[in-house]
């Protein structure tokens, strides 16, 4: 049947809250209506609108992988009105979720290739969904490398998973913090993401690079990838513009002839070059 009210969210119970970093939390959410949960599916790269009833909605990617069923996770920084309210909630509280919306990371096309994930700061959550979706079918991919940078050691999110990836022989993890952000016991790199990437001398042959981070990081990372021979079709990112409806109607995330919500949020660099600079 045609959906009557496309703006009505699912009700979700906050099953588990993890403090990731100062002001950053991960919520594990499960559907309060079991049947809705069973019928729900998404693919990595998609996002949703999360409601705090009485405050409004906020847009995040789904940070958990599509290979794990029964729950979804989102990771957010307490920054605006809705995220501040969201952060004040407790386990067992109810929020709303509309989604999944948008397109996906084409990971099926990447089978048999090397993957290079490059993330900065709070942009690891969208990437974490892809990383686990690939690691959960590890034999489908060749080398998997992850370069993750944050402002300071405290700002690194998913610290436990970083440890896990570091231990895995089939993952090459490089973590870095901005100069001045290190602690005496920090064992990772110190330097900005583009600098560390240059030092890693990434091999472009048969490799897909997935880049996500603040605009300034992306701006300086693309030239490094170009230097090592990555073509525009080998580079993917996910955009985040302000959104309300998530369905290509409210007009907010319009960039050129695309809506980030409907035609994205995942874009190859080839597609990105076709867009005006309004994101």
């Amino acid at each position: 049947m045609e959906q009557q009210n496309i703006y009505q969210p699912y009700l979700m119970e906050i099953e588990k809250i993890t403090e990731e970093a100062p002001m950053v939390k991960t919520f594990r959410l499960k559907f309060t209506n079991e049947e809705e949960g069973n019928n729900f599916s998404f693919r990595t790269g998609q996002f949703g609108e999360y409601s705090v009833f009485g405050e409004g909605e906020v847009t995040f990617c789904v940070a958990s992988p599509h290979t794990r069923k029964g729950y979804i996770e989102c990771t957010f920084r307490e920054a605006g009105r809705v995220t501040t309210e969201l952060a004040s909630l407790n386990e067992g509280d109810t929020i709303g979720f509309r989604g999944p919306y948008g397109n996906i990371f084409p990971i099926d096309d990447w089978k048999g290739k090397n993957l290079l994930f490059i993330a900065g700061g709070i942009a690891l959550p969208p990437m974490r969904s892809v990383i686990w979706s690939c690691l959960d079918q590890r034999d489908q991919f060749k080398d998997i490398s992850i370069l993750y940078g944050a402002r300071s050691v405290a700002d690194l999110v998913y610290k436990q998973e970083l440890e896990e990836w570091k231990e895995r022989p089939d993952v090459n993890l490089v973590t870095t913090v901005d100069p001045g952000g290190e602690t005496p016991t920090w064992k990772g790199d110190v330097g900005f993401v583009p600098t560390i990437l240059d030092r890693m001398k990434p091999v472009s042959e048969n490799t897909i690079a997935i880049v996500c981070g603040p605009p300034v990081m992306i701006k300086f990372t693309f030239p490094v990838l170009e230097k090592y021979g990555f073509s525009d079709d080998q580079v993917f990112t996910t955009l985040e513009n302000r959104m309300k409806c998530g369905l290509g109607k409210c007009g907010r995330c319009n960039v050129g002839k695309v809506f980030v919500c409907k035609d994205g949020p995942v874009f190859s660099r080839t597609q990105l070059k076709d867009l005006p600079d309004e994101y």
Binding site: Q3, Q4, N5, G54, T94, K244, L247, K249, V255, K257
Partner: protein
């Protein structure tokens, strides 16, 4: 369907309103409210301002109200309960006496809200609205419908169109199946139209001032022409009045309203002209200055919508220019864009 042509007497017009009411159809029509003309429910023909050029706001609120509840919920210690909001509560309604540009303006909204997944809040209301437009015997200096493919007697989007011909006669065009059903309510008041009536003789003369295709072509090529957008928008104060009176602007916002026990989520009109429209929580704003926001308004209507939805998002009604507090004139700006390069 093949359109049917009839004649109705002016003196019978009041009977139409009476019969619509007798059938249980509410009638929405332009009504004078002090200095403005609103589209409102009317009781009788006497309420209707049939002589005005255009209502102050467009007719879009018939199907896309300024404020609309999309969600209702109660908040309790035990959790949140949602109470379904049915998008399909509107009654069959007659939108009477609007102009052709209002009727055809719905095609942009149909495209936006109709694209999957369809927005039933809009679609159901639109589906239940029959449009009886009145062609334009007059136009003013802000009108430019003929430059964007419309005209004072354009029938696109109307179910019926009335054109005054002579002292006591209305030329009636029955344009759609819905129009036919409505016309059946007053079939006994209609007589067959004599052959060869040329309604254009009774219409305003709206000169074509620019080539719409050229505007579409030049807009698409002018994104980086910063000087053009800056020059046109220098005096724009970003008030958004243009979007609120526009028959095709569909951008919206959601806001929650609540007390301690219950709340609603409202969908409200919004405008790409507002500086907050695209502002990220981080402080980053993809459209930081007013010239970028003006460019968005023009590009969306004349480049993005034609590419995405195969429709130009402008009807040439000129309301935005009439409403603009700093006298920006879209007809002049579009003419200038048509002449670029």
């Amino acid at each position: 369907m093949e359109k049917e042509l009839k004649i109705l007497k002016y003196s019978d017009l009041s009977k139409l309103i009476e019969r619509f009411h007798a059938k249980g159809f509410p009638v929405l029509a332009p009504v004078r409210k002090g200095k403005v003309v609103e589209i409102e429910l009317v009781e009788s023909l006497g309420d209707i301002a049939l002589d005005v050029l255009l209502s102050t706001q467009s007719a879009k609120k018939t199907a896309f109200p300024k404020v609309e509840k999309v969600l209702k919920y109660t908040l309790a210690k035990s959790g949140v309960t949602q109470h379904p909001v049915d998008p399909d509560t509107a009654r069959e309604t007659i939108l009477f006496g609007v102009r052709p540009c209002d009727a055809s303006g719905f095609k942009s909204l149909d495209a936006i809200f109709g694209e999957a997944p369809g927005d039933q809040f809009y679609l159901k209301k639109k589906e239940k609205t029959a449009i009886i437009s009145f062609s334009c015997p007059e136009a003013d200096e802000y009108c430019f419908c003929t430059s964007v493919g419309g005209g004072p007697g354009n029938t696109a989007g109307s179910d019926l169109q009335f054109t005054g011909i002579g002292k006591d006669e209305i030329f009636v065009e029955i344009l759609t199946e819905k129009g036919k059903q409505i016309a059946a309510i007053f079939a006994d008041l209609l007589s067959d139209s004599p052959a060869g009536i040329d309604k254009t003789k009774f219409l305003a003369d709206v000169k074509v001032v620019f080539d719409s295709d050229k505007v579409v072509e030049n807009t698409s090529a002018s994104f980086n022409n910063a000087a053009l957008w800056l020059e046109q928008s220098l005096r724009c104060i970003g008030c958004g009045a243009c979007a609120f009176v526009c028959p095709t602007c569909a951008c919206f916002d959601f806001q929650d309203e609540q007390n301690t026990k219950q709340g609603v989520r409202l969908r409200l009109w919004d405008s790409c002209g507002f500086s907050l429209f695209t502002l990220h929580t981080s402080g980053h704003n993809p459209r930081e200055v007013q010239s970028q926001r003006w460019r968005q308004r023009i590009m969306h209507k004349f480049s993005y919508m034609p590419q995405q939805l195969h429709v130009v998002g402008c009807e040439g009604c000129g309301r935005c220019s009439r409403a603009c507090p700093v006298d920006m004139n879209i007809k002049e700006h579009l003419t200038a864009i048509a002449q670029v390069g």
